[in-house]
């Protein structure tokens, strides 16, 4: 214990007498650690933003789109280019276990006109259940009812942006607008939606029955109503995989696909999308971290450089210490701890700097950043490791000095 205390004393003397040099030595480590922390927290923050956006759609959501999934094995019919899903498919899926709601939908591009204002919009024909399945949020009014859907009432729910463009400051609820050749009454306006993906701000929802009756009357050879997609929600997220299997077998038998034939539809769950995006952003975060780690490495080489110079400069001190009875391990430990303490201090300053920078970015809104404890622990331990690694050789050099020659040096 006494020995370690005196060792720390020696280290402190070494560092404190060269304050400016000690600081310059660790500057590389400071910048390295600060950039690791900042970049990693930007990466994590971006990931979290994307994920929370996706999850706002509901993690219990499964979407089915027509066409096979795009693989790497040559040309296939890609999603959207074929029309294989029907409203009758959707009705069949509603009977499956653990399926709480099924919402088939179809879309069409039409011109909207209200007074002197007009705009092009993507009209979505949906069922009343769509509201629940997609976790939509109303700003004013309400979503159309199942009765309105069944009876084919000409009503519409419009997105926030659509309401602003067509109606300005006026309240659109109760107003009638023209949609192509059809006149519909606005019953509800959705709340503003700032999510990055699938924002509903520019959407217009009408009952699917209305869309089928008035605008798009596409049917399959069997006379079924074609829909462009089916969304459904499950009662239990853990049963998502089971439900997906059930959907596959139901649709395959309905579409009369023989064994060995590819699916003519693609199933995606929000969970899968979230996992995919997590993986992608994790890779991006790692890449950012790796770039910053290079800065850290350069900082480490700087530490080694200065430690080597410091050993040379303090040759006489080493000689004196050895003459007084210091063993090789005493000298070795002294210089090694000195290097590790230096880089540890650099790591700490770097963490404070990096965390501060991340916080500033967050507050000023440049980036959403998430400072995670694991990154901080990692960065600090890596900086100590760098001190030990790059301090090893200079310390070993110091410990091996011949005391007689070291005493003779000036």
């Amino acid at each position: 214990m006494k020995r370690w205390l005196s060792l720390l004393g020696s280290v402190w003397i070494g560092l404190s007498t060269h304050k400016l040099r000690s600081f310059l030595t660790i500057l590389g480590v400071v910048i390295g650690v600060a950039s690791v922390i900042t970049l990693m927290s930007v990466g994590r923050g971006t990931q979290q933003t994307i994920l929370s956006n996706i999850e706002s759609m509901g993690t219990d959501l499964i979407t089915i789109s027509p066409g096979a999934s795009v693989g790497f094995g040559g040309v296939r019919s890609t999603g959207g280019s074929v029309q294989t899903l029907t409203q009758e498919d959707a009705e069949a899926l509603a009977g499956l276990d653990y399926v709480s709601a099924v919402a088939p939908y179809s879309s069409s591009s039409l011109q909207l006109i209200y007074g002197s204002e007009n705009m092009g919009a993507q009209i979505m024909g949906v069922t009343a259940e769509y509201y629940e399945v997609m976790n939509l949020e109303m700003g004013s009014g309400g979503f159309f009812t199942d009765f309105q859907y069944q009876s084919g009432t000409r009503v519409a729910v419009i997105g926030y942006e659509v309401a602003e463009t067509l109606f300005g400051t006026a309240n659109p609820v109760g107003e009638e607008m023209r949609m192509g050749t059809v006149i519909v009454r606005v019953v509800g306006v959705l709340a503003e939606d700032d999510s990055m993906f699938s924002s509903t701000d520019s959407a217009v929802y009408i009952p699917l029955t209305v869309l089928q009756q008035t605008i798009s009357q596409e049917r399959t050879a069997q006379g079924d109503h074609i829909v462009s997609s089916i969304a459904l929600s499950v009662t239990d997220e853990s049963k998502a995989a089971y439900v997906e299997e059930e959907i596959t077998s139901t649709l395959r038998s309905r579409h009369r696909l023989s064994t060995g034939e590819d699916d003519d539809f693609t199933i995606r769950s929000v969970q899968e999308i979230a996992e995919m995006i997590t993986e992608t952003t994790e890779n991006m975060t790692m890449l950012l971290g790796a770039i910053a780690a290079i800065a850290l490495l350069v900082g480490g080489i700087g530490v080694m450089n200065i430690m080597l110079v410091s050993v040379l400069e303090r040759t006489r001190e080493i000689g004196i210490r050895k003459a007084l009875g210091a063993r090789e391990t005493d000298i070795w430990l002294q210089f090694l701890i000195e290097a590790a303490l230096l880089t540890f201090a650099g790591g700490l300053i770097g963490v404070i700097l990096g965390a501060g920078l991340s916080l500033v970015m967050n507050v000023t809104g440049i980036y959403t950043t998430v400072i995670s404890v694991d990154i901080i622990i990692l960065a600090v331990s890596v900086s100590i490791g760098i001190g030990l690694f790059f301090g090893f050789y200079p310390a070993w050099n110091a410990s091996r000095l011949n005391p007689i020659e070291a005493l003779r040096s000036e």
Binding site: K2, S6, G9, S10, I13, T17, R316, E317, G319, I320, R321, K322, A323, L324, G325, A326, R327, E328, T329, D330, P403, I404, L407
Partner: protein
Amino acid sequence: MIKLQNITKVYPMGKRELTVLKGVSLNIEQGELVAIMGPSGSGKTTLMNLIGCLDTPTSGSYYLDNKEVSHLKGGELAVIRGQKIGFIFQTFNLLSRLTALANVELGMTYAGGVDRKRAIEALASVGLAERVHHRPIELSGGEQQRVAIARAIAKNPTLFLADEPTGQLDSHSGEEVISILTSLHAEQGVTLIMVTHDANIASHCQRIIHLKDGEIVTEEKV
């Protein structure tokens, strides 16, 4: 206490070899005050380094306190230096960044542990009670050498080794240093070996060993 038997020391000098000591045998008893004299290049310093366990002989045996130390490794020699040897160098060899007190304590670090009270006592015993917190640059040469002596005293070694302790001092400070060293011997009975080329200083010692070309030529008792 010190027993050297036929010690030789050979340094490789490129392809040739330089023989510095050619078979030195010597006994020094506990409590003796011995001077080693000789012209430069006679091997005094090499002999001093061997006795001080800073180096090992090429051949021959060296017993310190009845223990053979001539074949010990670096780490074991370091422990002996720490516990048994108190060096006093011609160039003082103080750490310029440390105060007098910290320099004395540094010596104790490797000799069993720092004891501040003892360090201050050691400085007081060489007349530097008022200079405890001064750095070497703020002290005169004689004072610096006295700090070095205090550093050796504080370690409580069995053997004091002084290599030209007055070599860089004016005659007045030199006399002061010599009087401190001789009184250390007279009052506390320490064993002290001094390398010098000053016959006047050597005359304070009990025994003078003359070295020439790596061999002991004469030994005289004062």
